[in-house]
């Protein structure tokens, strides 16, 4: 299996780190052994790494460094946003939480837990194209108590279909109604320009490993002055909002990835969009019974989600892997479970279309030749799978 040339089209699950990032992490591991909270020279050196990473991440999303809370990744940041907001010290009761049905499990399950614990939780439906309706958000805010101020959490880009939500509009009307807004921007940061100022949100989640930093590091941006209850309790790190010794080597990697700005978004976005569009056209033209999910909404340039009629997505993923092509049926966090994609279900797609869905997600290493090969391999595989007339599992 080592001999075949492998093509990686699962950047939404995670992205490989560049040699530059790997070198930076490795150097930090070797040369920066201190604890960033220590007084001595070792500590000061580690602290500088953390400070530099904070500045780089803040610049990437147009924020102030002091507003960045480093976490172990996107899931922890989402948990901190929802649970930290819910439990923040305030007068008078529990704030309402409003999330959408296509959020990542980190947001959805945190909201469901809070719902069981007594917070009023609303889960909003989405359109057949995977878009959240601005009016539905407004109506939901109007239905819940305005005191204490509710929190709305809407993802910026969906991980499975890549649809971009009208977040600036949602944030504007939420603000008019006194609600705070969190966005899980894990699949957007590093792929499309993200600026917290123009979005007008109050909290934003990002994960390093989706844009070239190592796994195990991410951040929650929290607008200055927004009260938040820490979820990891202990020392005073991250201004008391997240206890625990800073992961210096990973933060050094995060700094490099953030500064590199994902190899310059301006050139990369149209390049990936062109490759993605060619991949979609190639598959739709050569394979009958295919449809792109979420094509009617604005999308990030790197993602396409295609349903293949009469074939299970799972079989396509395995068959493509045996040909050296790595894709997925949906969220890697849900793979291996029995549940079909909650995102595609929320879009109201038929069970057959949900089961036949495959996600291709591109990245900066993706080449023209790779897309050519995928366009050649997919029709042959799908024809073979369909020929088996396989009983649905």
């Amino acid at each position: 299996m080592g001999s075949i040339v492998r093509i990686y089209l699962d950047y939404n699950a995670t992205a490989p780190v560049s040699a530059e990032v790997a070198d930076a992490v490795s150097a930090a591991l070797k040369d920066c052994p201190g604890n960033a909270s220590s007084i001595h020279a070792f500590g000061q050196r580690a602290k500088a790494v953390v400070d530099d990473a904070r500045s780089a991440v803040a610049r990437l999303i147009g924020a102030e460094p002091s507003e960045i809370v480093f976490t172990s990744g996107g899931t922890e940041a989402d948990n901190l946003a929802l649970r930290g907001f819910a439990e923040a010290p305030r007068d008078g009761g529990k704030p309402a939480l409003i999330v959408t049905a296509i959020e990542h499990e980190a947001v959805l399950n945190a909201a469901r837990l809070l719902g069981r614990l007594g917070w009023p939780v609303t889960i909003l439906p989405v359109s057949a194209e995977g878009a959240v309706s601005v009016d539905a958000v407004a109506a939901a805010i109007d239905r819940v108590p305005s005191r204490p101020a509710p929190l709305v959490s809407v993802m910026l880009a969906n991980n499975e279909v890549g649809t971009l939500q009208p977040l600036a509009e949602i944030a504007a009307l939420a603000r008019e109604r006194g609600a705070a807004v969190h966005t899980d921007a894990v699949q957007a940061v590093g792929r499309v320009p993200v600026d917290v100022g123009s979005l007008g949100v109050d909290m934003l989640t990002l994960a390093g490993h989706k844009f070239g930093a190592p796994k195990g590091v991410g951040a929650l941006w929290v607008r200055r002055g927004l009260p938040l209850q820490a979820q990891s309790i202990g020392g005073k790190q991250e201004r008391g909002r997240r206890a625990g010794t800073e992961n210096t080597p990973a933060l050094e990697g995060l700094r490099v990835a953030a500064e590199r700005g994902w190899r310059g978004l301006q050139a990369e976005m149209p390049r990936q969009a062109a490759l993605r569009d060619r991949l979609e056209r190639g598959i739709l033209e050569r394979v009958a019974g295919t449809v792109v999910n979420g094509a009617g909404a604005p999308r990030v340039p790197n993602t396409t989600n295609i349903s293949f009629e009469g074939v299970e997505g799972e079989s396509i993923v395995i068959g493509l892997d045996l040909e050296g092509i790595a894709v997925s049926t949906g969220s890697a966090c849900s793979s291996g479970t029995l549940e079909p994609s909650h995102v595609l279900k929320a879009m109201g797609l038929s069970p057959a279309r949900v089961e036949g869905a495959v996600r291709f997600s591109l990245g900066p290493e993706t080449t023209d030749a790779e897309i050519d090969r995928v366009i050649d391999v997919v029709p042959v595989l799908v024809a073979r799978l369909r020929a088996r007339g396989r009983s649905r599992g």
């Binding site: 299996m1 079989s315 045996l322 595989l381 073979r384 088996r388 396989r390 009983s391 649905r392 599992g393």
Partner: protein
């Protein structure tokens, strides 16, 4: 069959037999793909399930595959398993019969659904860790034989395989003894070398099969325990709690030990009697599969096995059309149980089998 170098899907349960099967195929130079079937949601609740297909077993299969340097996938066949295995199991028990889900799983899942998937992945064969052997004769006909280890032989559970299925089946450990398989696993440093054999039906936690029936098909099935003359001896909670030949759980005191002799689901009767009442000289079976593709031309002398731990007994077998057979044993057999398989052997060769009426 094993041609020079081909892609083979190995059904990996996480046990020692299928792990060694995979290792032998890798060593023979084949392009081996490990597949574990997820057949039911073993993560629900904290029930203890049998030793097959649990999360731990999937983990073991993955670790073994990684050690062999082969890809490993978990395919979700839960719905198909529910449709063809569990629902049949429940229906059979509820109708007073004693089913063999493993036989259905082999012929309708492993060697049908999984084979279809494997062909889709450009694989030529599906291999399992069963103790059974397949050969192909000069005329191109496939023959199915007992495994070489008569204590571990599993041919009984494979009686429903057709010629087309046998053409795609590989049993790499079928010619080995269990001791040899464990030794091969140890020699290769496999983590599953010492893993105990699975004993129970995989989707039935703690052997509580009646609870599975109650969960899938709730309803009041209480009835009477009677003797051969119809005299009422006691009450029971449903015929699905019993199997022919069973002694335990009758809650009746009698001068001599009583056994379940017959189950009548329609009238909710459990008929009991002394051990001698269990003996039968004849049986009929339906849903026959003749491995050769057609029944023998006339009566044959053979050995017939009527449950997995029964020593096949000499009998005259009369094919009745393509789908049925009548069996007359030379000596009476105890506990001929409706729903179990009657499987016909001549020596070590499995000729066919069907479901006891």
């Amino acid at each position: 069959m094993a041609d020079a170098r081909m892609r083979v899907v190995v059904a990996m349960s996480g046990g020692v037999d299928s792990s060694v099967a995979a290792a032998l195929l890798v060593e023979a130079g084949h392009d081996v793909v490990g597949v574990s079937m997820q057949l039911y949601d073993a993560s629900a609740g904290d029930q203890k399930f049998g030793t097959c297909c649990t999360i731990d077993d999937l983990h073991d299969a993955r670790r073994v595959a990684h050690g062999l340097g082969i890809p490993h996938y978990v395919v979700n066949l839960e719905r198909r398993f529910q449709d063809v295995v569990v629902s049949n199991f429940v229906r059979e028990y509820a109708s007073g019969r004693t089913p063999i889900p493993c036989a259905h799983c082999n012929s309708e899942l492993k060697f049908s659904t999984l084979v279809e998937q494997a062909l889709g992945f450009a694989a030529a064969c599906v291999a399992t860790g069963h103790y059974a052997r397949v050969t192909r004769d000069a005329a191109g006909l496939y023959h199915l034989w007992r495994g070489a280890d008569d204590r571990k032989d599993q041919a009984y559970f494979l009686f429903a395989l057709t010629q087309a299925q046998l053409a795609r089946a590989l049993f790499p450990v079928g010619a080995l003894s269990k001791d040899e398989v464990r030794r091969l696993a140890l020699e290769r440093g496999m983590r599953v070398a010492e893993k105990p054999d699975s004993q129970e039906i995989c989707f039935v936690p703690d052997g509580e099969y009646a609870a599975v029936v109650d969960r899938h098909l709730p309803g009041d099935r209480c009835g009477l325990v009677v003797d051969a003359q119809g005299r009422v001896l006691g009450r029971h909670d449903g015929v699905h709690h019993f199997t022919v030949g069973q002694r335990k759980g009758l809650r009746i005191s009698a001068p001599e030990p009583l056994y379940v002799v017959r189950l009548d689901a329609d009238r909710r009767l459990v008929q009991v009697g002394p051990k001698a009442a269990l003996e039968r000289r004849t049986l009929t079976a339906a849903g026959m599969n003749w491995v050769a593709g057609a029944p023998p031309a006339g009566d044959i002398c053979a050995q017939v096995q009527i449950r997995s731990r029964h020593a096949a007994a000499e009998a005259r077998v009369t094919p009745v059309g393509a789908d049925r057979m009548a069996v007359e044993f030379d000596a009476p057999q105890s506990a001929v149980t409706p729903g179990q398989a009657a499987v016909v052997f001549q020596g070590d060769e499995l000729l066919g089998g069907g479901w006891i009426d």
